[in-house]
Amino acid sequence: MSENPIFVQIKKEIDDNEIVLFMKGTKDFPQCGFSSVVANILGNMGVEYKDINVLADNDIREGIKIFSDWPTIPQLYVKGEFIGGCDIIKEMSQEGELQELFAEKGISSAA
């Protein structure tokens, strides 16, 4: 059975980039409140990350939901691992866990 090219593409993105945010819109112009919240959190932490606009590619938009087994956007990946969506990221950020996670994974941040 051949590998779905969309999954191959997604895997490449999360392997090639330390932090990847699958979102609606871009980090500079988010097009959804939930995506905006996560983009802002990352922005405030001063971490480098790659934003992937699922609205620009419907195959990615549907593919990432199957890939992650997670029904919604945004989705945050850190060093190839799915961390969560808006609710989880917000909670982790408020509890200091997100900062801890980045430190643990050796990701530099301005904060």
Partner: protein, 73 residues
């Protein structure tokens, strides 16, 4: 598709019999909710796993926006 708040509450409660479920209506349109679920079945599970358990409870209902907050008790 929209779902009534009491139906949503009962639906989630039926999956967490020992837990507490509180639903907040965020927009008054039966399509934007926040579900706060406290349950002993969350003990030892990661946030992602906990949220997936709640998502599973509402599988098949296409709720536009369901914020999830979970707590192990």
């Amino acid at each position: 598709m929209p779902i009534e708040i009491t139906e949503l509450e009962n639906l989630i409660k039926s999956h967490f019999s020992n837990g507490e479920v509180e639903i907040q209506d965020l927009a008054g349109d039966n399509d934007h909710y926040c579900a706060v679920v406290r349950s002993p079945s969350f003990v030892g599970k990661s946030r992602i796993e906990q949220h997936k358990m709640v998502q599973k409870a509402v599988e098949g209902y296409d709720i536009h926006a369901l914020q999830i907050k979970t707590k192990a008790i």
